[in-house]
């Protein structure tokens, strides 16, 4: 999929999330049992679900949940991971040792298990879902910013700034952080995809969000018993997710290739 197509898809995704409730679509919660499990029609372009709710409205409404989970989790990952990683990479010493060990431990938990545990501790709800997925991504951001900081702190201009008397905080904020932006943007776009995927897996497992909410994973979970009679209930949310994932991954790769000439060489 091309970069332009991916861009358009992401714009549609974000717009659905932002203005979804004001679009001229049926209420995603409105049930009409008589019209349940219908295939696509003029009235319901994507058919209806087991309770006769309009699938198109529910898919559009689901974009909002996915965006909140994806961006919220990445936000937590950046806010927690980047300052810690930069500090560890800049100061080194025992701080760095402790930080690296903690990151190892977090990465040693298989992703879903860590997230399941966090939801179990915090209780169900969108907030705990976002925190659970965010805790999964902070070690990734931490590791990248630590590594980049270690490389950057030896550069001449950073050494120069330090020689001229800049203190640690100023060096980190003015000289190192701007140079982290490129790599972090790449990680962020890929992590948004991962976060949306983990979020949907949790809700598919019935953890975090109640089943009537039009979130893509929860929709597929609720539709499982009707899967044979109405496969579109499973296929449509899955394909939608997949398209968003491919778009996010394509954009991430594109930014990486643009910002890192070395990776371009490898690709050839």
């Amino acid at each position: 999929m091309g970069v332009a197509t991916s861009g358009v898809i992401l714009i549609v995704f974000v717009l659905s999330a932002l203005i979804g409730p004001w679009l001229p679509l049926p209420d995603p919660y409105a049930q009409r049992i008589i019209a349940s499990l219908e295939g696509p029609s003029l009235e319901h372009p994507l058919g209806t679900d087991q309770l006769g709710r309009d699938m198109l409205s529910r898919i559009v409404a689901g974009a909002r949940y996915s965006l909140v989970i994806g961006l919220g989790a990445v936000g937590i990952g950046v806010l927690v991971g980047v300052p810690l990683g930069m500090l560890a990479g800049y100061r080194r010493g025992w701080l760095d040792k402790v930080f690296s060990r903690v990151i190892d431990v977090f990465l040693a938990f298989p992703g879903i298990i860590l997230a399941l545990m966090v939801v179990a501790i915090l209780g169900p709800g969108l907030n705990s879902l976002v925190i659970a997925v965010g805790l999964r991504s902070f070690p990734v951001f931490g590791r990248v910013s630590r590594g980049e900081t270690i490389a950057l702190r030896e550069r001449e201009y950073v050494q120069g700034a330090r020689a001229l008397g800049s203190r640690g905080r100023r060096v980190l904020a003015k000289h190192i952080l701007p140079n982290l932006a490129g790599p972090l943007l790449v990680v962020a776009s890929l992590q948004t995809a991962t976060a949306i995927l983990i979020g949907a897996t949790l809700t598919f497992l019935g953890v975090g969000i109640s089943p009537e909410v039009p979130e893509w994973g929860a929709m597929m979970n609720a539709a499982r018993p009707y899967m044979l009679r109405a496969p579109h209930l499973i296929i449509i949310p899955g394909v939608t997710m997949m398209i968003v994932m491919v778009a996010l991954n394509t954009i991430g790769d594109y930014i990486r290739d643009r910002s890192d000439p070395f990776s371009q060489q490898i690709r050839k």
Partner: protein, 307 residues
């Protein structure tokens, strides 16, 4: 030398596992809801509650409780499930073989398919096989594992009825869940194999082999592949973590009698001894697999200095 190295790497695991056990111990105690109430039932008198609290050691300081917990783990005692009143280790041990079977099968499938696809793609970059491999890995990365599982159930279990879609038994039961669980790793491993084989193929010693007239097959299998396989094998260890996550989800879709259902139920019932035991088991498994990979790595590449 190699044995000493393996032993040292295993020792390195201890601090990490201790930290994991401490984090799990503390965080599980943050779970709202009184475990004593869960054990005693709603009609328990305060005296009975106090007695249970005392017998569980819940009146001790947290750190004493943790040390006590560690001692019991070392003795192989992970506590008792709140829900079933069975020893935690029995509950986990009964289901662990099924989970391990699925994870191992997933690992085999992801290595075989991943390396196979990667080699095929690298033989003719830009060719139709390369395009196919790219498509498979795109699908693997971007489709949620549970969704792929559901699609497989629909396609192979209902429409074509090739494979059984529920339960554990013979090899045919294993095919769909193992392939589903492997797909994401296949994506990564095949991309990595392709990149690393292409790089090796451009090196001087491969050119020399070609120049002296070695057949393309010999060049690739005997000269290039051994070096090109180093990076996929390294990630294979990391991929195991991804596989374990996948297995938990996939077990539920294919009604596989492993630890996944146990974990989900334990979380819904707040059965914290089970959650604790399972997380420790998964972490120990993951860590020891990675040690195994490190050792294998040292065997494959004699240049690696063992210290």
């Amino acid at each position: 030398m190699l044995v000493a190295y393996a032993a040292r790497r295993l020792l390195d695991l201890l601090p990490t596992l201790l930290l994991v056990s401490f984090v799990v111990f503390v965080s599980v105690r943050l779970i709202p809801g009184d475990p004593v109430l869960a054990i005693a039932g709603p009609e328990a008198t305060p005296e009975i509650m106090a007695e249970i609290r005392e017998s569980l050691g819940l009146n001790e300081p947290l750190f004493t409780q943790y040390l006590d917990y560690l001692q019991r783990i070392v003795r192989g005692d992970l506590g008792t499930s709140i829900r079933t009143k069975q020893p935690v280790w029995d509950e986990i041990g009964r289901r662990l073989p099924a989970t391990l079977e699925l994870a191992a099968a997933g690992m085999v499938v992801s290595l075989v398919l991943g390396i196979g696809l990667g080699v095929m793609a690298a033989l003719r970059p830009g060719g139709p096989l390369d395009a196919f491999a790219r498509l498979v890995s795109l699908f693997g990365v971007s489709s949620p594992t549970f969704w792929t599982g559901l699609l497989f159930v629909l396609a192979f279990g209902y429409y074509w009825r090739i494979f059984p879609i529920a339960g554990r038994g013979g090899l045919d039961n294993l095919v769909l869940p193992a392939v589903t669980v492997a797909l994401t790793s296949v994506a990564f491993i095949s991309r990595l194999t392709r990149a690393s084989l292409l790089e090796v193929l451009s090196q001087d010693y491969v050119r020399t082999a070609r120049a002296k007239g070695a057949k393309p097959y010999t060049t690739i299998v005997k000269h290039a592949l051994r070096n090109a396989l180093m990076s996929p094998i390294t990630v294979a260890g990391l991929e195991f973590g991804r596989l374990l996550s996948g297995v938990i989800v996939i077990e539920i879709i294919f009604a596989w009698p492993g630890t996944g259902r146990l974990l989900i139920n334990a979380i819904q019932f707040r059965d914290f001894p089970i959650i604790q035991g399972l997380v420790l088991t998964y972490a120990a498994l993951y860590a020891s697999i990675n040690v195994g990979v490190d050792v294998l790595y040292a065997v494959l590449d004699p240049r690696i200095v063992l210290d």
